[in-house]
């Protein structure tokens, strides 16, 4: 066999009820695909936007899974391919978080980062001696070896909403020096911040046929000097981008704005003046803010949650995203709640951060579920999520027009949303 045909699948998951669904082109599968040996031909299916054709000829299947809510679907896909006599590998974030179970459903799990490791995996597969576990946890490859993703694998028209192309995901670093209570990143990517070389970041970013990006790094506020150098270097590209937290420093915020910061995700964890000022400072530099609000912490009562939700109206957030505390494996919250016997649901399909799977300390699970529903309804009561997003969209479109980088929406796709036909009300009676 000269060439290997690999079917790469990103399993679907149940989207959160009541929320606007946007399907972004997934990053993990194309980052993995970039690390494959030259003799591997890839056919990629994102099951969130298209059906899997199980009859498509292939030699081997790889599942790329990011969310806990994907793993059970991944196992079912593996079973279907096993019925057809095809071996299945699995990798990605949620494969690592749920590896002990996933290994029982697939032929091989890959743990860790993929760069420089897939040659061995595929040589083993060719010899018929694929290992059950390829374990590279804690052995991160040199960050310089992280190259451009295989974005050519995307079927672009499937990541388009009524003619508007969705943002591309991009990473400028890996690892995280923080180890936050509900987060598994330090387990997955190590507790050391590993920035990519700036010249590689610029080269990679410049090659993306999309002016709007989501820099998915856990936090850009990890190394001020690198962060400032990054912003100076990417500014000439005139991309507009979303990111997680940016350093709370006027000089950094100014550089970020000049480098195209569109809006940031900022945790809103209390009703302090600090949070109010933090949001204001972003706005002062023309950077939008999507608040991320975690509900169900041990120090929160129902009233505390409602006060926090009311507070959001005072700080002029552009968007808000509410989640309930969820004990993902390999987080401190998982350890704590497990020891306290407070996790009552281990069905990973329910680990979507919108469903209560544990006993909160100062309220009942039903009360937390209700306050979560109240939060979404209350914040978007006067203006819908789609309308608020549209305002942010207009903001970026205007900036692009001023800079001459605006691309009009694709009229051919005006009646399609993520590959599906949609009815538009505009112009109809």
């Amino acid at each position: 066999m000269d060439r290997i045909k690999l079917k790469l699948i990103y399993p679907k998951w149940q989207k959160l009820r009541g929320q606007t669904t946007f399907n972004l082109p997934p990053h993990g599968p194309v980052a993995f695909a970039a690390t494959l040996p030259e003799y591997v031909d890839v056919s990629f299916t994102d099951e969130n936007v298209e059906e899997i054709n199980f009859d498509e000829p292939c030699d081997v299947v790889a599942l790329s899974m990011m969310l806990s809510t994907q793993v059970k679907r991944g196992w079912a896909i593996a079973e279907e391919y096993h019925r057809r006599g095809i071996q299945v590998m699995a990798g990605g974030i949620s494969t690592m978080l749920h590896a002990e179970e996933t290994v029982n459903h697939v032929d091989s799990v890959f743990l860790g980062e993929s760069e420089g490791r897939q040659e061995q995996v595929f040589e083993d597969w060719k010899k018929g001696c694929l290992k059950k576990v390829y374990n590279y946890m804690g052995q991160q490859p040199p960050i310089e070896s992280v190259g451009p993703c295989r974005r050519d694998l995307y079927k672009r028209e499937l990541y388009n909403h009524k003619g508007v192309q969705m943002v591309d995901l991009f990473h400028a670093s890996r690892g995280c020096r923080f180890s936050c209570y509900p987060c598994a990143v330090s387990y997955l990517g190590g507790r050391k911040f590993r920035p990519r070389p700036i010249d590689k970041v610029v080269e990679d970013m410049a090659s993306i046929d999309n002016n709007r990006l989501f820099i998915v790094d856990n936090s850009l506020a990890q190394n001020k000097e690198w962060e400032m150098e990054l912003f100076r270097a990417i500014a000439p590209l005139k991309k507009k981008w979303i990111s997680h937290t940016i350093e709370d420093d006027p000089e950094v915020l100014d550089l970020a704005a000049k480098a195209g910061a569109w809006y940031v995700y900022q945790a809103v964890y209390d009703t302090s003046d600090y949070i109010k000022e933090r949001v204001k400072r972003y706005h002062d530099y023309g950077i939008g803010v999507e608040g991320t609000i975690l509900l169900g912490l041990d120090n929160q009562t129902v009233d505390d949650c409602k006060r926090l939700i009311d507070f959001l109206g005072e700080i002029d957030l552009d968007l808000a995203e509410f989640t309930v505390l969820t004990p993902f494996p390999h987080t401190k919250v998982y350890d704590d709640l497990l020891r306290q016997g407070r996790i009552f649901d281990f069905d990973w399909d329910h680990y979507n951060a919108g469903q209560v799977v544990f006993q909160p300390k100062l309220m009942t699970p039903d009360e937390l579920q209700d306050v979560y529903d109240y939060a979404w309804k209350s914040f978007y009561a006067t203006e819908s999520q789609e309308a608020k997003m549209f305002r942010l969209f207009c903001n970026v479109a205007l900036r692009e027009m001023n800079e001459g980088t605006y691309r009009p929406r694709d009229r051919k796709l005006a009646n399609r949303s993520f590959g599906k036909e949609v009815k538009r009300n505009i112009g109809t009676k």
Binding site: M137, S179, Y181, N299, H330, Q340, G341
Partner: protein, 119 residues
């Protein structure tokens, strides 16, 4: 968020989940003929798996290294106080029963129980 050194007598390096190099604090005490093995989570100083996730595997590695019989020890996990402003980093001790099911494996210890062994 460094764990104060008074929590442990030594740092114990162990193989965590998927053999990840991992570390915890360790204290071993004998009180009234009972051997107490106390593992302390080191948070940022632990490069790998948490003591809770490592669970019985960690207990077995300690017993093998120290010549102890897992069936004859009392095994505690400690969440040390790291002087964090966040309440979920407060001090907590749990006794672990590896024979119990996951939901009943951990029993939170009272201050008196902890003092009786550690003071």
């Amino acid at each position: 968020m460094k764990v104060p050194s008074h929590y442990y007598d030594e740092i114990f390096d162990f193989k965590g989940q998927w053999d990840m190099p991992s570390s915890c604090g360790l204290k071993i005490r004998s009180v009234d003929g009972v051997t107490y093995v106390i593992v302390i989570e080191l948070y940022q100083e632990n490069p790998g798996t948490s003591v809770t996730y490592a669970g019985q595997s960690l207990a077995e590695q300690i017993c093998a290294c120290k010549g102890l019989d897992l069936e004859k020890i009392v095994y505690w996990e400690c969440n040390p106080d790291t002087n964090s402003k966040l309440s979920f980093y407060d001090e907590e001790y749990f006794e672990v029963d590896f024979h119990a099911d996951l939901q009943h494996r951990y029993r939170r210890l009272t201050e008196e129980e902890v003092k009786r062994v550690l003071s």
